[in-house]
Amino acid sequence: MLEDEQKLVKKAQNGEVKAFGSLYDHYLPKIYRFVLLKVSHREEAEDLTHQAFLKAWENIEQYDFRGYSFGSWLYRIARNITVDYYRGARTEVSVEEISEIYLSKNNSMEEDVERSMEWQELAKSIKKLKEIEQDVIIMRFVEDLPLKDTAKAVGKSEGAVKVIQHRAIKNLKKLIEDKERNG
């Protein structure tokens, strides 16, 4: 969680643009990754992430701390936006977009190719999981979001999230093993 996050939120709720800017800088990469792994399309992910932050800024006074981080509230907004996106026009999944982003980082060519292949496979496997399992896997294992905040973001109890994350990891492992076995 961001240091003095609640102070920043209060300031943002009072209309301080700079405070919301700090929250945006901290959470943008996390929310973007979450959305990208869900939709597997860079431009769509950028658009949906933008929508999520815009919605958060317009409705920031509705956020009430009650022990949950601002991040969990943002993930909830992003999750709802991706659900709406899938209800509407679902575009063709192109996981290559993810590797393209990774390739843009400063790595050696060989490293890049190897990593990009691994990422493609991993992203494809994640996408084969149930919606809720995808959410929990990304929030808990990619972003290290605390159990309490994950539960709040997905609208489940902490116990239920524990069960889901256990099942999600098991299913993901099986999917990867199956893929390796079948070549």
Partner: protein
Amino acid sequence: MAKDLLKELQSLRDITPRSEYIAQSREHILSTPKSFYVAQSKQFGNGRGIVWESLSLSLSTIMSAAVVLIMLGGATGIMRVIVFNNLTAGVDTEGIIAEAGAASKDIDIQLNEARYYNIPTTKATATLGVVSANVTVDNNSKSSDADRALKEASK
């Protein structure tokens, strides 16, 4: 395998959005003005506390109720004029009053007749008692006593 998988998942953290996108999106969001309603609710929420909020809510409820009552009162008055004017249009009111008067006279006559026949039961019983007591007397005097008793009872 599980450890490798967790490492793999964590490596996805290296994914970052494009810097051009960040700059554009950030500028657009932060330049979006908050709506008037949001600004108002924030002012109430932060500046004056829950007492002011509840007070303003009660005040607005009372005002709304008053407006509704005034509207209903006005509507009733207007409706009364419209409805009664429309209903009585083309009706012979004098004829109706005369007919009602005649009907009430008939009712009065019938009530008088009913009163005439309505001899109180107690008086009738007493009269019958007197009649039955005088049964042993001669037939001529018995009938005259009974007639007298009935006349008294009917007064």
